[in-house]
């Protein structure tokens, strides 16, 4: 359905439009007390108007920032829009960040107002209150446990709403006038990038940029107000914000907020979203779960699963893309759909998915093919906070596992001689907040945004991203070394949760491995192998043997690729603890911070290259409540077999 959105250049104006055009259609659902509660577009618009009036009554002015801290909650989204009604700027912050990490954005943007989910977030903000003198008022959505807080900065959302309704009743024109004052060039929101180095940067995005990209992509995929999305990733991440805020505001579709982080799988099955987004990490975790459960299944089911998954691997992708496939295979695939793929999609909650995207980081080709082969239209997407997400999207029928597709309408791309990707698009950010130097470095005079990603166009004009420009290295003999490419290959094995490869300027490649506790634990149980915990399991010879087999299979694969054959993994060790964002080893979006890890574990890297067969390590860990402790262990180092490039070529 194409409807005219002319003149609707801000999100509050779009909201008013939906309240008029489809007032009775669902806008937001939230599971509360075991039941899905629905807010229609007109109810949602009412709530937003009331909250906006409440904010104004409290002293919130045009250009003020409103920090939003919490999970996906309808009222937090309402507050986001309410701030925009008044020409304010919502600043979503990661809800799982520790208190200290929240101080910087609040100081940087001199934030005076915050809307938070619950007591946990209130406690964090109160903790940093002394460092953040600008913070004047903290509203909280869930009043539980908040009764005895004497702080004058605190107020419940309900009171804000009440005061807002009263103010709105006194002067109903006020908010309409405020909304009308807004223009597309105003700042719509600010997102702090997770920042692999240094302080995070506040990315300033305008209404025009966000709306333009959200709309272009929605038109490309034919999204309508009949679509349903499950909002389950952090709202502070631009991806979630596009899918659960910008796009519903341009198409009128409904977003659903799960009950809690633990219930996402169940909620997804109940809702049956039609439009789905997941970073590779989530897809990986789902597949790991499926693999584990299949190993526990009876012999007949296992055989059936194996047979049909093999068939799907062969023809599933082609059938999804409408390419010619033999009648016999088609029939068998149909039976497989009845017996395996359909039920599997149902278990994953993806029975109704029409369009699924993955982005955030490169996805392992096997992982990608798995979802497509069982009939889920999973496609890759390329973009970042600075580009309002949509830069490249794979169009239906042109999906390739190793590219991110051609540029979306309106986007111009080019590559520098160093293979860095440059972008010009209507969705580009305005600036980094209060950081003109970083803005100049990222966006040149001609308006090209320097992504820092390395890649090239393939023969069909699709963009292929291989790694970060700064991470792509060369081995001592000059061979191309793309660590992320290797790591992704390793991570496709369910037993390997995380991998970090080293090799730039060295004579060979070595790797740190993080085992997946669920998968390896299950594997050990089945072999009657007792273990006392993660550290113990990670140091078992049997587990080393298991990981070695995985690595050798990757090596065999690499041997077949002439450019990368020399970057086979020679030696590895299994880390005694999981890499964790709280220890700064991963970013908040859970990307490996390779350099930080190389420095933090420098003795381990040295031991790998020095040819030693064990090394002692002591590492600080930070627990979720902010306390720190240390874990020490003796790590073994093992060799993996490598394959001569030529020999494997002959075999293949």
């Amino acid at each position: 359905m194409v409807e005219s959105l002319a003149g609707l250049d801000t999100f509050p104006k779009l909201l008013a439009h939906h309240a008029r055009v489809r007032g009775e259609r669902p806008a937001v659902r939230e599971k509360y007390l075991g039941i899905w509660q629905t807010w229609t577009w007109s109810q949602f618009a009412d709530e937003v108007r009331a909250v906006a009036c409440g904010l104004a009554a409290a002293g919130f002015r045009r250009g003020d920032h409103l920090a939003i801290v919490g999970d996906n909650r309808p009222r937090l989204y309402a507050a986001m829009c309410a701030a925009q009604c008044l020409g304010g700027i919502p600043v979503p912050l990661y809800q799982d960040a520790v208190a200290a990490e929240m101080a910087f954005p609040i100081q940087n943007a001199e934030i005076a107002w915050a809307m938070v989910e619950d007591q946990e977030q209130v406690d964090k903000l109160l903790e940093i209150l002394p460092q953040c003198p600008t913070l004047r008022r903290i509203w909280y959505d869930d009043p539980r446990g908040m009764r005895h807080y004497p702080q004058r900065e605190l107020a419940p959302y309900d009171r804000l709403l009440e005061e807002g309704r009263a103010a709105h009743a006194r002067d109903p024109r006020f908010i309409e006038v405020e909304i009308a004052k807004g223009s597309g060039e105003d700042t719509a929101a600010m997102f702090f990038t997770s920042g692999t180095t240094g302080n995070p940067k506040g990315v300033v995005l305008t209404h025009r940029a966000l709306i333009d990209r959200a709309r272009t992509a929605a038109e490309m995929e034919g999204l309508s107000d009949r679509d349903v999305v499950l909002a389950y990733l952090p709202p502070a991440w631009i991806g979630q914000n596009i899918f659960s805020y910008a796009q519903p505001f341009v198409t009128g579709y409904c977003i659903c907020c799960p009950e809690s982080a633990e219930t996402v799988m169940t909620d997804m099955r109940e809702i049956g979203p039609t439009y789905y987004f997941a970073p590779p990490r989530v897809l990986e975790a789902l597949l790991t779960q499926v693999s584990i459960r299949m190993e526990d299944a009876g012999r007949l089911k296992r055989a059936m699963y194996r047979y049909f998954m093999e068939l799907a691997r062969r023809v599933g992708g082609a059938i999804l893309e409408g390419k010619p496939v033999g009648l016999g295979d088609r029939l068998r695939y149909w039976v497989g759909d009845l017996l395996v793929y359909g039920p599997l999609r149902n278990v994953l909650g993806m029975s109704r998915v029409r369009v699924a995207y993955t982005a955030g980081e490169a996805i392992g080709p096997d992982l990608f093919k798995f979802y497509r082969s069982i009939g889920i239209n999973l496609k890759q997407l390329y973009g970042s906070t600075e580009t309002s997400v949509f830069v490249c999207v794979q169009p239906d029928g042109q999906v390739k596992p190793d590219t991110v597709g051609p540029p979306v309408k309106g986007v111009e791309l080019k590559f520098t001689p160093e293979r860095e990707l440059l972008i010009r698009s209507p969705g580009l950010f305005k600036e980094y907040y209060k950081n003109p130097q970083a803005t100049r470095e990222a966006k040149d005079a001609e308006g090209w945004f320097h992504t820092g990603d390395a890649g090239y166009f393939d023969a069909d004009g699709h963009v292929k991203i291989i790694d970060r420009v700064k991470d792509v290295g060369r081995l001592a003999d000059g061979t191309l070394f793309a660590p992320k490419y290797l790591e992704n290959k390793l991570k496709f094995f369910p037993y390997i949760k995380e991998a970090v490869c080293f090799g730039h300027g060295r004579d060979r490649v070595c790797a740190f491995i993080n085992i997946d506790m669920d998968a390896v634990g299950n594997w050990a149980e089945k072999r009657n192998m007792p273990y006392s915990g993660y550290v113990d399991l990670a140091s078992r010879d049997e587990v080393y043997e298991l990981v070695r087999e995985c690595i050798e299979r990757v090596n065999a694969d690499l041997a077949a690729e002439p450019e990368l054959a020399n970057s086979q993994i020679h030696r590895f060790l299994i880390l005694h603890k999981e890499l964790d964002a709280d220890d700064e080893e991963l970013t908040r979006t859970r990307k490996v911070r390779r350099r930080f890890i190389a420095e933090k574990y420098a003795p381990l890297v040295e031991a790998l290259y020095a040819g030693r067969d064990s090394v002692h390590v002591e590492a600080r860990v930070r627990y979720e409540d902010g306390r720190t402790g240390t874990i020490s262990a003796d790590l073994k180092i093992r060799d993996a077999k490598t394959f001569p490039p030529a020999a494997t070529k002959k075999a293949a």
């Binding site: 075991g34 539980r144 809690s260 993660y534 999981e578 627990y623 240390t630």
Partner: protein, 288 residues
């Protein structure tokens, strides 16, 4: 960080900073609601309780501690009518009226608003979490057996009300994700939480907790402490608990009773108990 990693590293954890609890005086502790007056209980020759007296005030968290075999569980069993003391009385206040009893049964105790959890979890293992908690509402169901079986009249309306009450408890204790899971498949810490949920479903005035934290790891204990304090704060429930972990007792209780060999040897605030010589002797052991 995963719990099992945290567990592995526990001994090296630096001392946690004291949690910023809301000030204790913010919870209005009232007049005594339950009085134990010179209670003695014996099993044949074993004298489990000897002339024990103490009171429990409205909305307070009252701990009963003591070494193994001190008579703690017996005391709890006397309070909810499982054991009947040979001498002494228990008095319970309802509004302004005092009720005195010697041989109440557990069913009566429950209807008077006393609920409890057990040291060894006593849930229906094959039933889901939701159904288990629903059983806690049993006393509040008014519809007849026939009405319930046929889903008639009051039964439907009642069921919906009870389900809502139960869902609120599920939300309160953050166990939404296991709502439909059979209890037998849950880890121990969660089963304990489900048991607490079932006790809460009866909307008790007094909640008796028998070692709510036994066998839990640090993280689970912290969660449980938080839930107990939240229950006390949110519903105004008076809580009587038995616990072995002294750190926990001293952190969350308003007053503590100490039993040893069936006798009361101490009674007072955690600070007073810490300084009580008889208590220190009982725990560290001296020649009797």
């Amino acid at each position: 960080m995963r719990p099992d990693v945290a567990l592995a590293a526990q001994p090296q954890v630096q001392a946690p900073p004291p949690a910023a609890e809301p000030p204790a005086q913010a919870r209005p502790i009232g007049e005594p609601i339950l009085v134990v007056d010179h209670v003695s209980l014996a099993f044949g020759g074993v004298r489990a309780l000897q002339d024990v007296s103490f009171d429990v005030r409205e909305r307070e968290v009252r701990a009963i501690i003591g070494p193994n075999g001190a008579g703690k569980s017996s005391m709890l069993n006397v309070l909810n009518g499982v054991y009947h003391p040979q001498s002494g009385t228990i008095r319970l206040r309802t509004g302004e009226r005092w009720l005195e009893f010697h041989d109440m049964n557990p069913h009566e105790a429950a209807s008077l608003g006393i609920a409890r959890t057990f040291q060894n979890i006593a849930l229906f293992k094959g039933m889901t979490v939701l159904d288990n908690i629903m059983t806690g509402r049993n006393l509040k169901m008014r519809a007849s057996f026939l009405e319930q079986a046929l889903w008639l009249g009051r039964a439907k309306k009642e069921e919906l009300e009870h389900r809502r009450a139960v869902e609120e408890i599920i939300d309160f204790l953050e166990i939404q994700h296991i709502r439909k899971t059979p209890v037998g498949r849950l880890p121990y810490g969660l089963q304990k939480r489900v048991e607490l949920a079932r006790a809460l479903a009866a909307e008790p005035r007094i909640l008796l907790l028998d070692e709510p934290m036994a066998g839990m790891n640090l993280e689970e204990k912290q969660d449980m402490c938080r839930f107990i304090l939240d229950v006390n704060d949110h519903f105004g429930t008076t809580i009587v608990l038995i616990e072995h972990d002294m750190g926990v007792v001293m952190d969350i209780s308003d007053r503590v009773v100490v039993l040893d060999y069936g006798r009361k040897i101490g009674d007072g605030t955690p600070q007073e108990i810490r300084a009580n010589q008889a208590v220190i002797d009982a725990y560290l052991g001296v020649a009797h």
